[in-house]
């Protein structure tokens, strides 16, 4: 097991090296070079020269790359040209928001998706089944930003039921320890702050959770329909087990195997930042940070965030693979 984890972590090295080359090359390939891109088209040659000297861009390209790599290894991605703070600080402040949002979205998607998919399969061919199939098709088909915008317009702007922007009301003077706002509220016993942060997760979380929800419903339904026809379910029935035991031990557990893969993949995707949703809800996560960085040509932030998100994505996938072994003894690694 340990060897498996170490091997997987070692696989990170080539992935990150490749990604760093890409990111490095991309910045150098911008028209006019990074200086021109950062300072704008009307920058004077002197300004460009000073910029290049300041950031070491006048050095040979391989020196530049090695320096970049050397700093990256120490998690030093430079400072944001927009806020003047280090990229790592920015990331540590933004990532918790995205993590909270992802967790909310996935809890919503799993909590609704698995029971709905299961019921649809149990009542195969009923109106509930057809409704679930059509609904999940809609869920995948609706563009997320459109749904996010609709939700915000209806529930935040028109009805005013839920907050429609930010991570927390500014007037709540909350203490932040971990930057997980809900967790912070709980840790400091500022219940209203925690509740407010949670409410801020609802609309973006639902918008973000719609696609995973739709996928989970479809996969759960198809998987249950498959499993109930398996020979071992017939064996379980032949043993005279109660209908409940057959369902719990022999149907649901096996039916969830493919669902767990999906859940892992979707979680990884959401964690890498929901640029559109976070932007619509002005939610301070990595997605909106990337959006801002693109528009303000904050290349240091872009480079650093993308590299660190790649690490997060690979780690999440590793977790998924490990948990899969817990569910299915056949793929358990020894």
């Amino acid at each position: 097991m340990l060897r498996f984890i170490v091997r997987r972590l070692l696989q990170l090295v080539p992935i990150l090296l490749g990604l760093s080359v890409l990111l490095f090359a991309w910045l150098r390939a911008l028209p006019g070079g990074p200086a021109q891109a950062a300072l704008g088209e009307r920058a004077t040659p002197e300004a460009i020269a000073r910029y290049n000297e300041l950031f070491g861009l006048d050095q040979p390209i391989w020196v530049q790359y090695l320096r970049f790599l050397g700093r990256a290894v120490r998690l030093d991605f430079g400072t944001s040209s927009r806020t003047g703070r280090t990229v790592t600080t920015e990331f540590l402040e933004r990532m918790p928001g995205t993590v909270e949002l992802t967790l909310f979205a996935m809890v919503f998607a799993i909590g609704v998706g698995i029971p709905l998919g299961y019921l649809a399969a149990r009542r195969h061919g009923s109106w509930l089944d057809s409704g679930a199939v059509i609904g999940s098709l809609l869920g995948v088909a609706i563009p997320v930003f459109f749904l996010a915008y609709l939700l915000r317009l209806l529930f935040a702007v028109e009805l005013g039921w839920l907050p429609g922007s930010g991570r927390q009301e500014v007037r709540i003077d909350a203490t932040h320890i971990t930057n997980f706002y809900v967790l912070d509220g709980l840790l400091t016993r500022e219940w209203d702050a925690a509740w407010d942060a949670l409410l801020h997760l609802v609309l973006p979380g639902i918008a973000l959770g719609t696609i995973p929800l739709a996928i989970i419903v479809r996969i759960t339904r198809a998987s249950v329909l498959d499993v109930v026809n398996e020979d071992y379910v017939r064996t379980a029935n032949a043993k005279g087990l109660s209908a409940d035991t057959v369902r719990r031990r022999h149907v649901i557990r096996n039916a969830l195997l493919p669902v767990s893969t999906t859940i892992g993949l979707q979680t990884g995707l959401l964690l890498s930042g929901a640029v559109l949703t976070e932007t619509v809800f002005a939610f301070g996560g990595v997605g909106s940070a990337i959006y801002d960085a693109i528009f303000t040509r904050d290349f240091a932030v872009l480079q650093g965030f993308i590299l660190m998100l790649a690490v997060v994505y690979v780690l999440v996938n590793l977790l998924v693979d490990i948990s899969y072994g817990l569910l299915d003894p056949r793929v358990r690694v020894r």
């Binding site: 029935n237 043993k239 005279g240 087990l241 031990r249 022999h250 056949r330």
Partner: protein, 356 residues
């Protein structure tokens, strides 16, 4: 070992055959499709300690018959008619709760493919103990001890270790033994084995058959063997029912059947078994065509299109003139208008001269 099934409420009678199947019919009717009658008017009975064989090619309805007896056919789109009585208790139309109480405790089944018949994500131990917990009100510890004993009884070495393992960690023969252990857990009065050896190596096949035979001898369980393998029939069954296209076409005890098959289909089955004593290069004699060539029974005899003995009166233009299953000497029944005959053998003797 003291395994005694708890008598269920409304206990089963012992003065009647363990299983009586009468005029069983199973029809699959999917919406928008022509209904298919998979089993049609099948009757047989099994007494305690008796082994009967249901023999036929794939698709002849033998497995569907067993599933109908166990009440394991899907409810939707399936019509089951006739009567199935276990110890005098009618099973057809019985409520789901009653069936679940009887299944696993009074009647059990062993399936064809041991790997797919075991849950891949649940340890063998749990799959054995859950029967004990369900039907014999055992606690977990007690059930685990009993499960180890059961595995030992079906010849699985190191049972304590095996209980913790998963199906994919066991060999094919051990998986089938584990399935048999589950079926035996409550000493059922009826055991149905649906091609239990088809997926196994020949050496393992022999061991499994021996295990089943011992079981019948030791516990007096009534055994229904479903098979296409005439070797299994010869080694195990007291009486044999040959099925074709959903109907029983010949019934006889095994010696009569092997010595003097009357239905040309039975004769064909026997002739198509490769023989060791045949000279090399002597071609096998298969039955021509396939089971799909069957015509509806309502038009005479379903086997007629493949039969060498078939004559005009085997095929009738008039619907509803099915060839009937009729008395054919003591202990024999036959559904055939032009059976194989054995002119040289006087009544009571056998064609091949093999002693009974």
């Amino acid at each position: 070992m003291s395994i005694e099934a708890l008598p269920p409420e409304g206990a089963l009678r012992t003065d009647v055959p363990v299983l009586e199947v009468e005029d069983l019919s199973v029809t699959f009717a999917r919406r928008g499709e022509q209904p298919t009658r998979a089993v049609d008017g099948v009757s047989f009975s099994v007494a305690a300690g008796e082994t009967i064989g249901l023999v036929g090619e794939s698709g002849c309805g033998k497995s569907v018959t067993s599933l109908a007896v166990m009440g394991l056919l899907p409810r939707r789109g399936v019509q089951v008619g006739g009567s199935v009585r276990l110890g005098g208790t009618e099973l057809l139309g019985a409520p789901d709760r009653t069936l679940r109480r009887l299944r696993g405790s009074e009647m059990a089944m062993v399936f064809q493919d041991p790997l797919s018949s075991l849950n891949p994500t649940v340890p063998i131990g749990t799959q054995v103990t859950e029967v004990l917990v369900e039907h014999r009100d055992m606690g977990k510890k007690e059930a685990a001890a009993e499960a180890a004993e059961l595995l030992d009884r079906v010849g699985i070495p190191d049972p304590a270790r095996r209980l913790k393992e998963y199906p994919h960690q066991l060999s094919g023969g051990m998986r089938q033994r584990a399935l048999i252990a589950m079926a035996l857990a409550c000493s059922p009065r009826l055991l149905i084995a649906d091609e239990p050896t088809t997926a196994l190596d020949v050496t393992i096949q022999a061991q499994i058959l021996e295990l089943l035979r011992e079981l019948v001898v030791d516990t007096g369980t009534a055994l229904v063997m479903i098979t296409h393998d005439l070797g299994v029939v010869a080694g195990l069954c007291d009486r044999v029912h040959v099925m074709y296209a959903g109907k029983v076409i010949e019934t006889a005890d095994r010696y009569d059947l092997f010595a003097r098959p009357r239905q040309p289909y039975t004769g064909g089955l026997l002739a198509s078994v490769p023989r060791l004593d045949a000279g090399r290069g002597v071609p096998l004699t298969p039955i021509r065509g396939s089971a799909r060539d069957a015509i509806p029974w309502a038009e005479g005899c379903a086997f007629a299109p493949r039969c060498d003995n078939a004559q005009d009166d085997c095929l009738t233009e008039v619907a509803g003139s099915t060839v009937p299953l009729e008395y054919d000497g003591p202990g024999r029944e036959l559904r055939c208008r032009h059976p194989l005959t054995y002119p040289s053998s006087p009544v009571g003797a056998t064609a091949s001269g093999a002693g009974r």
